[in-house]
Symmetry: C2
Subunit: 651 residues, 2 copies
């Protein structure tokens, strides 16, 4: 999978970056923190991103916006060029630029590196002990002198040959065994489900004729409010054989958990929502079973993780009291349940293991992330965040864990923003400003003319504008700047990111002070959540040694920018990791190692939940966080130093 990589050096900035074969050159510049004027989002129509390839080769990059002479000299449009070798690229600086200004360019873009569970490591540590195992037996045939019942024959020989003790036999095994045991002359494979607790009993959940030990599969599933993802895991190798997702059919009954709960309170609503989510689950199950080319009978177990509301709805448990103070869930721990009883397209022997919850708003998806990321086993003080409309925060290490949920509002997903949009084609996802002219550089998803701004783009935009002095620490535009991009419309200040003729929406793409205020509120809610949790346990945000980001948002956000706006505490970007779908990852881990299933009960007991609305210091922390990056800039020493340097330079 390791594609070849190339080094790209930008002049006169002398910034170098390593990119993958075929990377778009304007992306490379953006990631290197090098500004190139560009207003068309990468579509190649504005022609402003003219660069000179001094060494090396690029593919494409030729456009009618370039003269033949320019092309001959080596000029290309950066937004159309793909890196195909090591390069030296010179950015034409139109104005007679002071070399020192180059230092005012953005810091290189940093996103979190992906951390995934290491199967090899698990195997090495002896932790690759799936909760469901298969054992093959060649049993002696019964005779008049030895006419043990079929079940006793199986149980006795599991004792003798495999040292298995204290077993519980499920009713469905008793129903199947008389015919199955004789199908291949008393050669039989038993599927054993391990107990969570040391003292518990192993359950014999299935029997199959002959030797089927090579065919033992599990499903891991994340039941999200919006999407449901499933994986088929090979319990012999630990590998993922198939993966697929689908929109949670409950979306038709409300986008967020609160509207789902409201629907569930209507007559027949709970039943409907349960059926609908099971329908989506079954669609995913069917597709991944087909994709993996296995038989439904070969699935031994399914592990599901979801937030508290999704979990209660899936299990037909009335979620009414989740949304009413004092926010009481029905339960946080669920016993193993037959998947069949829940309506899942799985055989009767399959037990559904449901991730436990901590509280009404810190659910199984977060617990799964804590387990899957291993943060509960480390010494380092770790901050785990799953940021969306609701942000869940876990802080702690192997000794203690504290958690809380806060409502960030929809800003991170582009909601409540004048031209906000989801991360889709035409959304501005990257942005920089010329440090002198303050002219913008835009890159959109799909390299088309801009339509709007997505969450990660918004963060980059606000961070850049703040660092460049376009907005102040209260999020207000600098009215003294000499640019027509800042203007007042109906009493509200805004900044024009793309003029009407540069967009595909027949009007300007702008960012308003209200947009910025919404973003500040969102990041303030999250940051103050972290601060409150820490102060409740007598620590401060400077003690955070590691950050783990989960969820779609975490994979796109520019870490430096998130620290500039004060969404994340300032920390070495190398110490920020991204786990992707933490919920799915935790479900997968539990499917592969019984150890995790044992640990999770202890972990949920250890996780102290704080209801932020009931924690007096939260409101103070929130008010203090409604600044860029924070009312106390000393919490962000690197940023403070850069801002100081910039001020010194510009004076």
């Amino acid at each position: 999978m390791s594609a070849s990589t190339f080094k790209v050096k930008f002049l006169p900035h002398e910034r170098e970056i390593t990119v993958e074969d075929g990377e778009n050159l304007i992306h490379a510049a953006m990631d290197a923190g090098v500004h190139i004027n560009a207003s068309c989002g990468g579509e190649g129509v504005c022609g402003k991103c003219r660069v000179l390839i001094e060494e090396g080769d690029v593919a494409e990059g030729i456009s009618e916006k370039l003269s033949k002479e320019d092309i001959k000299k080596g000029y290309r449009l950066a937004c159309k060029s793909l890196v195909k070798s090591d390069l030296v690229v010179r950015i034409p600086v139109e104005s007679a630029i002071d070399a020192s200004v180059l230092n005012l360019q953005s810091t290189p873009r940093r996103t979190a590196h992906i951390e995934q569970m290491d199967l090899g490591d698990l195997k090495e540590k002896g932790l690759f002990t799936p909760p469901v195992e298969k054992k093959y037996l060649e049993l002696p045939e019964p005779t008049a002198q030895d006419n043990l019942p079929d079940v006793s024959r199986l149980v006795n020989y599991l004792k003798l040959s495999h040292d298995e003790h204290r077993m519980y036999v499920t009713p469905s095994v008793i129903q199947k065994i008389p015919d199955i045991i004789r199908e291949k002359d008393f050669k039989i494979t038993a599927t054993l489900a391990r107990p969570v607790h040391e003292g518990g009993r192993t359950r014999i959940i299935n029997v199959q004729a002959g030797d089927t030990t090579d065919r033992n599969f599990a499903i891991a599933m994340d039941i999200g409010t919006t999407t449901i993802y499933g994986q088929i895991l090979d319990l012999k190798s630990g590998e993922v054989l198939a993966e697929n997702g689908d929109f949670n059919g409950q979306i038709s009954f409300g986008e967020d958990v609160i509207s789902r709960i409201v629907y569930a309170e209507k007559a027949g609503g709970l039943k409907k929502l349960q059926e609908v989510v099971i329908k989506t689950i079954n669609t995913v199950i069917d597709s991944i079973i087909k994709q993996a080319g296995i038989d439904s009978d070969e699935i031994s177990t399914i592990t599901l993780a979801g937030n508290t509301t999704m979990t209660q709805l899936m299990l037909s448990v009335n979620p009414k009291y989740i949304r009413r103070s004092p926010y009481v869930p029905a339960s946080t721990i669920y016993p193993p349940i037959r998947a069949f009883d829940l309506g899942m397209n799985l055989k009767e022997h399959v037990t559904a293991l449901i991730y436990p919850q901590v509280s009404s708003y810190v659910g199984g998806d977060i617990v799964a992330g804590v387990m899957g990321s291993g943060m509960y086993r480390t010494e380092e003080l770790t901050l785990y965040m799953d940021i969306g409309t609701n942000a869940e925060i876990v802080i702690g290490n192997k000794d203690w864990l504290a958690c809380a949920a806060c409502s960030a509002g929809p800003a991170f997903e582009g909601g409540g923003i004048k031209l906000g949009m989801r991360a889709a084609k035409g959304a501005i996802e990257d942005f920089s400003l010329d440090p002198v002219t303050l002219e913008p550089m835009l890159v959109t998803i799909g390299k088309v003319r801009p339509k709007g701004i997505c969450g990660s783009g918004l963060i980059t935009m606000v961070a850049t504008m703040f660092e460049m002095g376009v907005i102040d620490n209260r999020g207000k535009f600098n009215r003294d700047l000499d640019t027509e991009r800042i203007r007042e419309v109906d009493g509200i200040y805004e900044y024009v990111i793309a003029w009407k003729d540069e967009t595909q929406i027949d009007r300007e793409v702008v960012i308003t002070e209200i947009d910025i205020e919404n973003l500040i509120r969102a990041k303030g809610a999250v940051y103050s959540g972290c601060m409150t949790l820490l102060s409740e346990v007598g620590m401060s945000i400077q003690d955070v040694e590691r950050i783990i980001l989960a969820g779609g948002f975490g994979s796109y956000v520019d870490l430096e920018k998130a620290m500039i706006i004060g969404l994340l505490p300032e920390i070495d970007a190398d110490k920020v990791t991204f786990v992707g779908n933490g919920s799915l990852m935790g479900a997968k881990m539990s499917s592969l190692t019984n150890r995790i299933r044992r640990d999770v009960v202890e972990v949920t007991k250890k996780m102290t939940n704080f209801e932020l609305s009931e924690t007096p210091s939260y409101m103070d922390n929130y008010m203090a966080a409604l600044f860029l990056p924070h009312t106390d800039i000393d919490m962000f020493p690197n940023l403070k130093a850069r801002l100081d340097a910039r001020r010194d330079m510009l004076q």
Copy 2:
């Protein structure tokens, strides 16, 4: 319930018997072992049973067969007279009878006394600990500072207030709790199901609003091949609130277990038989719930006992291999199963507890009898027998138990007997012979003219004829006797019990040598089963200290007669007890005391099953038992003494 009793003295025999108020006088004579000629079965038409009431009063007894003068003198028809005071009754002896001959009368009739579980005793010993208990709690309402999940609130306070630990909460409780806990302001009753094993977990199986601790009921049920009986038990008082039975609907698919198994092997047969037995179970459940005047939600548990085939059919487990050598059942122990999953008309929280089996032909009904009768806790060497078409035998005490099943054939139920019939109206159930004239005395069920012979009547008949020398120890009629009742028809000898004009079937009621042979085979199979079991454990039949009879047959059989024909070993009749429906009794016991549920697993492990067909000594024992009472008369010393005395007297 104790009706008043009266003493009846018969002259010239000087035999006295105590009977209940209103007892029929011919029955009283029969039970006292006093012969009165009577051939009409008690209908009063033959007029032969004329007796003189010398002291005391009888009701009725007057008939046109008696002259006015006789009536005035105090003569009555015994078969029509009801005992209403202490009596002295003289039997007119037609022939000039030698007083010594009176000693040749039958021994008084002895049936087993009923032994039932003593609830007071259980309570005294602290054993009245039903497996399902209810606990009432007044929980604090949740607040912002105390917003525990509903389940945790319940579990924590069960710990605090009731010292309950390590609890498992069922999915249905989680589904119900949010609404139930709030219905009566956090006043709630939890239903706790106790584990079978000491180390196991208590399960919270139900929650109800308010205090419902007074309403906790169980069902005990016997799943018989022919009939299904159920009881509602009050788990607070231990009392039986309702009881009812119905024919097992599977009868339409075959009368005995083998024909049921054959049907189950047909396509769809197993499913059909499962549905049909559940339908009967539901009929019984519905009727006893109604009869007890309780609500279905108040039933906490159901315990079922049945033979191995009935159990497998009820649980949809293919019974095919039960009837094929080497006779392997699917399992002998069944886990608790949700009654709801089996199709029973009971709420989701109700767990069905299934009595374990020992082998294909020693099933849960017998294990239940062993548990219910307490034989597994006694020092005495006890013989437990459930005699029917199949006879199950358990021998042992608190230290060891051995069991076997033998096919007795249908003779005990009147099958394979020329004029055999079930114990219904018109069946001869009692019989004696005039020791001198060898004229018979008949009493039929319903006191009507005879139609045929039922199992217990057959035993009494053969025993009496043998003791009176009408048949020899090989079951052959004494051809030397001067009576027209013994005759040869189509080469087969028979004895005319009732002449054509005395019956209601327009022909004679007879007993043939083939009938006797069938009875001898049946009793031989049972007796040799006992002998084989004993000899396999190094003991002999003389060591048997106690006999427990179970089932319908056991309640009617005349013990002395059963010992004369060698069906039962000779033992003091006081040491024979009758437990009635042992299966139902065991199911009831398990419903009331968890101790029994714990013991039963150990007991089934301890019960050594012998396949008689595979035990070499069985055939020898069987051949030796094909005599009256046995080839070795020394095993029956009392009988031997009586036979010797009779011979001496007649010589």
